[in-house]
Subunit: 342 residues, 2 copies
Amino acid sequence: MPTSKDVARLAGVSQSTVSYVMSGKRPISAEVRRRVEEAMAQTGFQPNAGARALAGRRTSVVGLVVPFGPSADTTGLLPFVETIATGVREHDYDVLLVTADEGPSALTRLEGRRLCDAIVLMEIEAHDPRIEVAASLRVPVVLIGVPQDPRGLPCVDVDFAEAARLAVTELAASGHDRVVVLGHPAEAVARDVGYVRRFADSALATARAVGVAHEVVEPVEATPLGAERAVEAARLDRPGLTGLVVAGTSAVQPVLTALVRAGHVPGRDVTVIGVCTDAAAAAAEPAVTNVSLEPRDVSRLAVRTVFRLLDTEVADAPPDVALVTPTLTHRSTTARAAAPAA
Amino acid sequence: MPTSKDVARLAGVSQSTVSYVMSGKRPISAEVRRRVEEAMAQTGFQPNAGARALAGRRTSVVGLVVPFGPSADTTGLLPFVETIATGVREHDYDVLLVTADEGPSALTRLEGRRLCDAIVLMEIEAHDPRIEVAASLRVPVVLIGVPQDPRGLPCVDVDFAEAARLAVTELAASGHDRVVVLGHPAEAVARDVGYVRRFADSALATARAVGVAHEVVEPVEATPLGAERAVEAARLDRPGLTGLVVAGTSAVQPVLTALVRAGHVPGRDVTVIGVCTDAAAAAAEPAVTNVSLEPRDVSRLAVRTVFRLLDTEVADAPPDVALVTPTLTHRSTTARAAAPAA
DNA sequence: CTGAAAGCGCTAACAG
DNA sequence: CTGTTAGCGCTTTCAG
């Protein structure tokens, strides 16, 4: 296995020159650069990560703490992980995967052993015990999810308040008399993940603002039975046109199925707006109007935040909370109230 | 951030003694050990991973290549990743996550940069281009999945041949006249993942051996429509008792739903055996008799194989192919042929 | 624009 | 049972 010393000898330069050719941290003449690069190619040289980390005090690794473990909700986790892994590679960094069930000590280990240059913490709960520890680290930490008190840590997430606003405003504007929000599963509510409340609050506030009746059915379990119950609880037999807002990708299909089974025709006698990914919305049967909730967008933003933190010497402008704005896409489940004859 | 030198000074010993206390590679008197451990606790010392990797020539990291990327089937991937991450941590190792879309060069990078001590390659296809590269590495590689030619690399997987044997034997023994295998989705067949063929071949061979009629419906897409078509293609209107073997966790529920919708009663006029995880089988509606297919078992075996390889100086006994034996669990979907009156 | 040399923090001979 | 010492392969001053 060739070292930079071998490359240097072969190219007839000093070891430091090889280093500077790689890092670009000082000007190199074209001729020397050519010789070094040729020597590198010829030997198949690759820099030793450990040596680099030791001498350069940076690991080129991002620690990713994923919510595995007994209590974890791992539905839809993969797109996050994939996007982060891919995004990080584009900066020639790697991802060290750590499971959340290791607890807050995972964070101190990552920092203490110098295993990474930055940490991404996923699935943040409103009162997450890891925040305190994370805030005390010298290595930058980016949160995916917004806790009650971020302690100065940068957070990224979907703008759930805006998502609720979009959905409710849309329903009111298209002549619905009533908005029923089918909320999150009991497990998510119990864990007090930040977005549950932010979504609910915004839905309520918007409904009030635009003057439409508003009800909430919660918890809603993402199972055939749970969906059936939720549909019953929505009381669609009442007079007037109802708009259903279904929170959470996993609940959308079950609710649609339950509606059809109960004799309803989404898009005709009831409107359904899913709060889910565009892919899930398009694949649903029937294709459902949705407010997008794209893990990939959030992850990309997280990666960008990580490298902004890594690139700036000082923690200059603390970014605080950065939210991804969702968009509303109409599909087959939008109904319109009978309009005055045109 | 304290170093082992700080610990040594505080404990009044040499730096190497601190190292040996950590590694246990040579005897330490109780008294010295006590002083060192106290000094470590007092300073909050944690060994620098980079320095360790450089001096000790081992990284304490396992590289995990996961099938992300455009062409990837990531369904059910999480349990694998989680189990590997957790298992590896039990040996005080970490996991470096690499996406397969980086191609074979990911492997040379992991090796060349000394990023890990071993590599786990997931979702191996029958003719996987990475095998050749993997076989040429000096760092041990464990395959999850069995390729046509493993090139001497250790493989772990579920014993799909045994799974098919179990299912078909069971059906024949309980008086079924006909076995219909609902096979994998077109995408899996096209990618030529090893298990598709192994399962199919074994099902056929077993059916012949026990003398029961055998048909295959393939591909089967794991969607409502795909399941409906598959059920039609199974021609359950024919005389005699039919046993359906549904391959793949994601297809089981859709097929059950399609059966019920078509007026069948699983467990009464048709038997269904899912080839899926026990969890999925128990959660299905109705709970389905299944042949287990446990990602966690496979992953645990993979981790064990990794550390067996890491612990032995030489690659002594090449383990070749290690398969996890599935088990059959009866649930509500097993029907029995009318037996002679007891 | 380039070289020489001093470490980064740990491990593992080698010596006792 | 313990200490001394020589690196591991890079990065980065300091000199020129």
